[in-house]
Symmetry: D3
Subunit: 289 residues, 6 copies
């Protein structure tokens, strides 16, 4: 498998996560059980999916073994974004038995968690696209602390797209930011002080959205509205002057069950925190010989 796919997070981000994960599992004395295994024993093993889903995190798993013992070689059969069935062989590993068993939990914790994120994303993508093929699934900043770059890459592997990566790259105006200032003034100030940034406005009702459209925001986010309310609001926005240029996102309490209705309401994006903060792992195991 060629590294450097669009689903790989930056190598430095992965290396830092793996370093911390190995440290918390191995320090200070190493794997004392594995020290009982003869040093010369070798293992040939396979990474196998135990349930259907979507693969993600192969760079992280590869980095785990790479940091632990570069003499463990991994032959990847599948890459991030691949569809898995129960029994799918993801990779084969060869190397010293000690290193293979010592690294197993760290590699699997990464692979299972990130594949869980990709799997939850894919399910939501399929539900949303069935309702509205033009609607996309976006993640949020509700990610697991320390794992944002990896989880956002897993979202892409699952077919979703990434919302802003952090507070530094885009403007998202909420009520709390506005204070006494109106939306028009806030958007204008954002344009003046941070030109070249995407400006989005969170709206609780149509009135705010119309203000945002008039203020030439790039995107409006409907928060905590019903699909019916959203449907009406989408129509109103699209009919407003300049409204065809504005992207529309729905967020807040969207679930696998409710997402299709929101998508059918005509929004461009549904954003769902659960695909990163509440995705159960995808069960992947290491089968020795």
């Amino acid at each position: 498998m060629t590294r450097g796919s669009e689903f790989d997070p930056p190598a430095a981000a992965v290396a830092a996560v793996v370093e911390a994960a190995l440290a918390e599992d191995l320090l200070p004395m190493g794997d004392i059980t594995a020290s009982l295994v003869p040093p010369a024993a070798a293992a040939a093993t396979r990474l196998v999916a135990r349930a259907p889903g979507v693969l993600a995190g192969t760079l992280a798993a590869a980095t785990a073994y790479g940091q632990l013992d570069p003499s463990v070689s991994i032959d990847w059969r599948l890459g991030d974004g691949a569809t898995l069935e129960a029994g799918s062989v993801i990779a084969t590993l060869c190397g010293p038995l000690r290193s293979v068993v010592t690294g197993e939990r760290t590699a699997l914790n990464l692979l299972c968690h990130l594949s869980g994120v990709a799997t939850a994303t894919r399910r939501l993508v399929e539900a949303v696209e069935a309702a509205n093929p033009a609607c996309r699934v976006r993640d949020t900043r509700k990610t697991t602390p320390g794992l944002r770059a990896l989880e956002k890459a897993a979202v892409r592997a699952g077919g979703g797209v990434n919302h802003r990566a952090n507070l530094s790259e885009g403007i998202l105006l909420k009520d709390n930011h506005l204070g006494g200032v109106g939306i028009a003034e806030a958007v204008a100030q954002a344009r003046r002080r941070w030109p070249g940034r995407h400006v989005e406005v969170e709206c609780d009702h149509l009135g705010q959205a119309m203000e945002a459209v008039e203020a030439k925001a790039d995107m409006v986010m409907f928060d905590n509205m019903t699909p019916a309310q959203v449907g009406e609001a989408v129509l109103a926005v699209r009919r407003a002057p300049g409204g065809d240029r504005v992207l529309i996102e729905v967020s807040g309490g969207v679930s696998l069950e409710t997402a299709p209705a929101y998508a059918a309401a005509g929004v461009d994006f549904v954003s769902v925190g659960a695909i990163t903060h509440s995705a159960p792992i995808l069960d992947i195991g290491l089968d020795l010989g």
Copy 2:
């Protein structure tokens, strides 16, 4: 609230996680939306549970604001391990509005995830204790990479107990470690080379368990056996010479549904990876007054 409770992970572990979490949300330019808020604006807000559950992660949330801006003061009303209802006020925060909104997501990501772990643990504990009051819930090493110390503390807050923290502190012999060597020889070698460590043996069937008891292992772990098989095995172990000193754990595919049956089979511990690797968040929000 006094810090330093039994549910607090080491401050250094928390500080490292928080530093990474703030960095991934704020670097390189900081919160550019918050830069539009007047610097002098102040906020008085409350951390409120939006669903019932168990609180955990208060040290992490406190550290997030402490690192970001020590002038944000938090008055904690509840501590780790507290039972929450929807609407429970966990803490009040006062400080500069900019800092309060900038730190919100990092603090909540930590609090919601760790409270999610505590909540999942508590549910399992209640189910297990109803079936067998002497049986305890244990976590595993199947934790989120980088968060082990924090998640294991959250398990304690939920009423569970911690399995070994890492590969360095205890012996857990599995088939892979044994090679051609029998259990008796492996346990003896572990005792000789690593005296003063707890020695546990993973067993797929009763025969192995009887070997482990005879080898004077401290604990046997029944892996992937049915509750009925486990029940029989528990009886056999208890009747064996020295079997009353051996602790019995069941692991592998135990869920909220099946745990009571395993508990009722008489084991001392059920170990469940899902309480750390697949716990959905507990929804907690920040309400600006």
Copy 3:
């Protein structure tokens, strides 16, 4: 002075730079000359500008003394963005003489460099605004390694605005990225894969710009064109359908001398690497009373 102004970089970014700067000046043995000063000697000193310019870097200088010795107290008279004359008193410092002299060079290196960036920016801003009050000065990614967040904050203190902070937050398509693909296809792909990001296209001639406008890019960057060529191109873009929505930037070899002509050509932004990579320091000194 209240911290947390719009000109402050994130505290974590500043702390990391200061930690490295103090380490390279003090390790391993500390300031051996200062060790000859009596420990009880105190100093009352003033930070004074020795030349006219714009102040930046006060958080960095404050952090340097804060990390070295919190008992050094600084009373800031002026903040980032303030206009300085030769002789302007920026702050007064009181504390142990040893700590004051030990921290002097680190604090001044930060303050002089960042104020140099702010000063170079202000000069360019004044020249540009005289030619076209609507035209803004933007920085680039041509920053000093390790100091990007601090230098970009200094650009804001000088009256400039920030281009994208890094390769992660915005799309800037250059010839090298296009390969055989046309601009229309590349912009469409960027929109599909990275929705919600600002998309800019670097153009060497008008034809590319017209393609970019048609492709609905957010911004075009004219690179290495003469002011006259840029003037023509601006008119053509503005007349094209949708061209009024497109922001226009000029970059590549723009200097203090040539910037006014580009600004007068009607662009929205001139981007200049020299304000960060080649700004001489602003001379600021520490006067012991």
Copy 4:
């Protein structure tokens, strides 16, 4: 090119700078524009000087690509210290197009800045040596925060020599350190407490210099004196008993214009902060074939 020349800073210092520089340009999501480039596209490019000067920073640039993607291979044609003309080919690079463009800015920022330091140094060296072939150019501690080891190596590449690297390695007594104590006593104390360290005394006038010579200081530094004053002082020092053993340095406001006059006054060293803190970059570009 063989690594390990006298112009290379320690590899660990370079690696830390590069790690920070890549992080600030790539985290958290990587180069999202480059993600649009086909993964299999390859590039063959050349590092080319766009202006005359002196090369420095090749280890840093090599480390940038080495950390980013070891499959990018660089064939260095020239090494640190080489004289460049506009058009000089410094190196050729081959590798994946994505990696080549992603690393370009980080590698160039390092190379252009450090070559700028070497170039400014070389110009000063040439001016000084023309006036007095025995006189050497020294740098100062007025370096860019975080880059001291790299900039001091670049000064050597430009033909200069390094003053003390930090406050820990040598004694430099200034008025502020003396308090009520005379120079004789201060030098004696320095010798007693820190034997084996070079002891230099900063002097504002001849009287102090004569005291320093009598105190057997290793070096005197004339600060903020005119070339004529320095000339007189040099003669007086040289005539004093033991004065032939004392090295003489001039510092403070020395520029490219005034340096020859100071050199001609007979000093051993002129020290100039501007070669590190105010050197404009040397323009070097990456030409895709």
Copy 5:
């Protein structure tokens, strides 16, 4: 030599120690004396013991050269745990002369210190085993700050076994922990809150030991008692119900002189801080051919 022996500490722990050691010897300017050596000069050298003892720290020494310059190749003739005579050749090194001399002190500091620990341990082990072949030597947490994992591995190389690695992995109840609570209650609480951990009780006299046995502690530690007192206490413990399952350790002021008497008293372990905190180095040198 194959890496990964039972005497190797985790590679990540070694790498961190080596990184700090090289930084403190080389930063900021590198080895300025070695910069005078011609870059092309090569060296072929040998690591040779200058006194009899036990070898430890080969991974650390290898890592030092590996981090400094991977082109230095080392051919290890002996591994950790090997018995050395004065003159024993431990390894041969080949590589650039500059790198060989630059890394010499860091590599030797590690090798000599850790071999010193192994040598002190081996002497104690031999004395103890002569008195009681079943008695083992254990280390303590009285290790050199930052070097615990490396020193504990050296203890194993010397034939000792490791006490708990840190405060996190095992329970050791002392008077200070008990407060008003009795031993029985404290042990019970430890079992309840931290099941699966080894529970040891420090005892100043026999009475406490009998309480600990009754409380089913795993181990008792006799602290600051005479060999005669210990001998009596051992007999009493062994005769008590369940006393045959309890391990007995003696600690506190045990030296090479007194250890045999304690061993002869029938304890399972003698613990000695001096093997880590006060072991003199073993003299090992680098002989240039």
Copy 6:
């Protein structure tokens, strides 16, 4: 006690060592035994010397508790360099019992090791000064990896002076560096390339020393010569032209026993690695009230 004495290493160096030491003793789960202590229990304790010696490391011990729990307050009665008798009270500590016992070992490991270094130094200083009051004791680079700055400060506390801190700050020419080049040429090259650095030449016999004096080296180091040989060599050096300016050091196998004879031979310095690499700890304990 006022911090910032000449015996304190840089705070950043101490903080890094303490952070590593606490991490290796507390991660991942903290002090599980202390978790059994009631959180509200308080302790008032004293740091007491159990043997005579010299105190060092108080900043390190203070930093250990400061990082662990700032609510532990320490009242220092004695500072670094103080002479201790068995029973001397060094400090009193008050704070939560949990924190006091958790930090005890880390604080004592630092204090006992560094006081051991200071004590060994003081003994050597007293022996040397009795033989020759003008002769000083110097340390070497044979320090414990990671602890150089702290150990060198402890040497000063014991009355010794510090040799160069690292390879970066001074020139020490040995046979290995010379290659085919003579001493005269090597010293000249060192002066030319690294002016302002102390130049020392290691000499195995008088002939080399005479060459070094003629080459105007700052210092000669006699290595592995007998006191008688050194005595003769000192006389020869002093009589040579310029020989009165040259400092003379003896090194290599100097011990507490042989140092006085070397000192009496008239050298300026004796350098001894054993005061850092083989000093046994000074026994200091924490007495709970």
